[in-house]
Symmetry: C2
Subunit: 251 residues, 2 copies
DNA sequence: TATCTGACAGATACAACGTACACATTGGCG
DNA sequence: CGCCAATGTGTACGTTGTATCTGTCAGATA
């Protein structure tokens, strides 16, 4: 019974945790293996490239193997299953996040962090489908770490610091998720600009408005002039959240 | 060639939109069918029950059919595919959201809306995996409608009103998504309280902290006293966002 | 009332997916 | 030079979403 070989397993908590931890240990380990055609980094890179180009559904174990030039089951030596593959992909994407901003006060630092997080998510829209804003992977944990560093020295206790971080990151995640959902709708229908999108959505929208349930939304549709300015929408909400931190915690 | 029968189809945009619109028309149509063993409502209800009990992955077309006592393909008369089924499920859940709060000023109304949205999402955690905060379905659209009604009469233009709504709903969605992710982790490992969770996460956490990359996060782990109070965490961030609206827009 | 008809549900089938398992191969260490 | 653990391959199975064909029922029509 070779018990030490299996990183997979729906077995009890003990073995499972060990397996999850060893994923990141393997990632850190430089080159301990005799044959090194495959590495976690190479796997992550290839999988992310597929997801960026064709969406998360295009990332199948066979497709990934084909892209890497190996047999379908080869990647299972490095990830215990598809869930762990996606965890690896997300961590890889977070690894490219620029976190070394000079930090001119907490507000600029948090604003920069939020803007970079949004840019990252828009560049890799499939990350919103993973439904795990900040799980415990090395590069994801670097985000709250950066925020804690920016917020230190203002007299906030640990819980409040976390609350501030969660307010900002929560807003970013939720707001960008909505943005990505609209962008996905556009792409899958081939609509290129706002007018084409509204034209494509018109039948559905007309039916909804004719129910008479949404007079406020209907007014918005007629009166709004910045419907095609997602940058303004995001940054307005962001400044709102940042002002709230100042107002609520006096920093 | 019976061309009028097919609600499905990867055909061009025109036919596709017609199909999507007719889903909600079918839902509104009272009882036009001769045999009415299946209805969109019954399908949605059964699917939501499965997802609530065993997660979104348990919702299979065959499983759903079995639960409804019909053949595996029967539901395809009402939804064009699984994506539309999930759209139907999400709309069903939003239909149970209480929106008739008395409205004692915009702040209480928005706060109540946020609290109810959180409660709804925690009751149906699988909704966060659908990655579409407010798509164009009747009951989802009722949420911004409620917000617009609450925010009317304060001199905000249409774009700003939408920005305020997006700030709140974005925060709620992102924040609760993080909460649900942690809750999922707990459930799938069988950890019941915060101490068990920390014990289960300890190996992974120890390995991460030993890298020395996260001194700020490590301090948080030692100093925080409200790590097991998600209500406080959510409401602190929410009050922060609401204060930001007051501060930023002067209402 | 007998019949017709279109909407409804059932049955069968298929390609693609994740992944378990046994086997072949590699290359540094003794 | 030969060993052996680490690495990649081949094959196969159960499950999934769904296309398509066939039967069947309720209510309008004559």
């Amino acid at each position: 019974m070779p018990a030490q070989q299996a990183p997979a397993g729906g077995t009890p908590a003990g073995a499972d945790d060990k397996a999850q931890a060893s994923l990141w240990e393997r990632l850190a380990r430089p080159a301990p293996a005799p044959r090194t055609t495959l590495t976690p980094q190479r796997i992550a890179e290839a999988a992310v490239a597929i997801a960026d180009a064709e969406g998360l559904d295009a990332v199948t174990m066979r497709r990934l193997a084909g892209e890497l030039g190996v047999a379908p089951m080869a990647a299972y030596r490095y990830v215990s299953g598809k869930d762990e593959l996606i965890e690896l992909m997300v961590d890889f994407v977070y690894g490219q996040l620029p976190l070394d901003t000079p930090a001119d006060g907490w507000r600029d630092a948090m604003r920069s962090l939020a803007v970079h997080l949004r840019a990252m998510t828009l560049a890799h829209p499939w990350t919103v489908r993973t439904a795990t804003p900040f799980s415990l992977t090395p590069n994801q944990l670097a985000v709250p770490e950066r925020a804690f560093a920016a917020l230190a020295g203002h007299g906030l206790d640990a819980d409040t610091t976390m609350a501030v971080f969660r307010a900002v990151s929560g807003y970013v995640h939720g707001s960008v998720a909505a943005e990505v959902a609209l962008e996905n709708l556009r792409r899958e229908h081939g609509w290129s600009d706002g007018d084409q999108t509204r034209a494509g959505l018109a039948p559905r929208m007309t039916w909804l408005m004719n129910t008479g349930r949404y007079p406020g939304y209907e007014r918005y549709l007629y009166e709004a002039t910045r419907k095609d300015d997602p940058d303004w929408q995001f940054e307005t909400g962001l400044d709102c959240v940042l002002d709230g931190i100042t107002a609520h915690f006096g920093i």
